[in-house]
Symmetry: C2
Subunit: 262 residues, 2 copies
Amino acid sequence: MRSQINIDPAATGGAQAIRRAVEVVRTVAQIQRSGASLTRVALASGLSISTSHRILRSLTEERLLRYDDIGKCYHVGPLAFELGLAAEGDVRTGWRDTVERIARETRLTTYLMARSGNEAVCLVCVQGSTALRAMPMEVGQRLPLGIGAGSLAILATLDDDDVHHVIAAQGARRDLFPGSSAKVEQILKRVELTRQRGYSVSCGTVALGVIGVGMAIAPHRELSQLAISVSAVADSIERSEAQAFGALIAAAIRDNHSARGQ
Amino acid sequence: MRSQINIDPAATGGAQAIRRAVEVVRTVAQIQRSGASLTRVALASGLSISTSHRILRSLTEERLLRYDDIGKCYHVGPLAFELGLAAEGDVRTGWRDTVERIARETRLTTYLMARSGNEAVCLVCVQGSTALRAMPMEVGQRLPLGIGAGSLAILATLDDDDVHHVIAAQGARRDLFPGSSAKVEQILKRVELTRQRGYSVSCGTVALGVIGVGMAIAPHRELSQLAISVSAVADSIERSEAQAFGALIAAAIRDNHSARGQ
DNA sequence: AATATATTTCCATATTGTGGCAATAAAGCC
DNA sequence: GGCTTTATTGCCACAATATGGAAATATATT
């Protein structure tokens, strides 16, 4: 019945189809910006075409996904929006001001990212004021942990065991990203660099020609694992500026903590 | 293997488990306010205890639900919030002002409701300014179509065939609501009354001692089926006031349409 | 302490989900 | 326009997965 490999067949606890369905929804949230076609979803989620199709179809009928007939691709649907309203615990309010301040001071697009399993989600996006703006992500978009500046900053806060677990569990999840920069060794090297420097740098890993600088937020009041990052057009900034951005983000995070925490 | 009835066994299209999982999430969103324990979820969704438990567990591990150890009940989880961010198409902005205006003028808690399959979702809630406030719902909460004023108003806009389909498909969905007021005949009678009057009245169907008056919004610019309703403590208002509230809501909706539509 | 109620674990069973293959449809490309 | 390529949908035999009953355990109530 099944010829493809499954990391841990017994770990689904008699709910394989449900796990897969959730995986498919997450995948769509991840790649919908660049077009979540059946084939791409199947590729990214590691499921067969048939299985992906059946799951996509049922989820669309349940309105958890929406199908764009013209573009032939799937999007996160209205039921997801509605269920989102029913979930409490919005961490964004406490950090929106800080993100806006960083966007103002750096003039760059600034993001608040949160860990979500083996992925990072974009919670807030504030545009900068430069003429050329790098907008590699959208609110709600998901990235594999390690891809992108904020996402990488969060990954680097985990201990080595967790890092390896996360990367292993991502499977084919990173294959749709630019270049070969999403290979395991590359990620591990970048994690190491991030720890040494205290801030993360990501160049062309989410979108080509875009550079990002990120920094994790040490868990303080909230339980979520968060990070803030800025994005710029790669040509437009000097390599040496990265450190300054890192320092600026760190200062803003410190201020937020001391303002609320006490 | 299965002894319980299933309305339409073939309609799942080889995705029974997924349909059930989505149903379980919706159910939790519906009853989480009054405590979504395993037993209650099983009851409302019409699934066996074992199946409910397995689905609830896997969804919790996937973070689509969250389990409250102390209260022993399930809530809509953080992944739902995150996925909600990825779904575009927020209809709320166009109606928030109108809802606020109605809340100000009536001094009552005012809701914007939207149809979602066989249910209605609360999109916006604005508190009134009375000393005793009826707050029968929360944002994101789901009700079976026909239960509650806004929900009933939407149901009454459907043609008779659809009304019967919706009610039939709700299954045990209405059983957890107060009294025997959720019986099929009762609903049909109220639908008829709503059509005659042009506005809906719901008394003690969502929460005991609470009365609601609602009116559907004729689809205009948006594709969603919407309604606006107000809620009051039943003792605090005269029976005759309902009509006035209906007229007031109708006027506000008209103003919104003419302001944006044109 | 005793009872009632709710939750979790276990397991044999067949229903359900699976994925290969083929048919069909749509989009590029000469 | 015909031809190639790519993407989507339908079909079906098979067994792995999901199912629900029942028993065991935990928790609340009297």
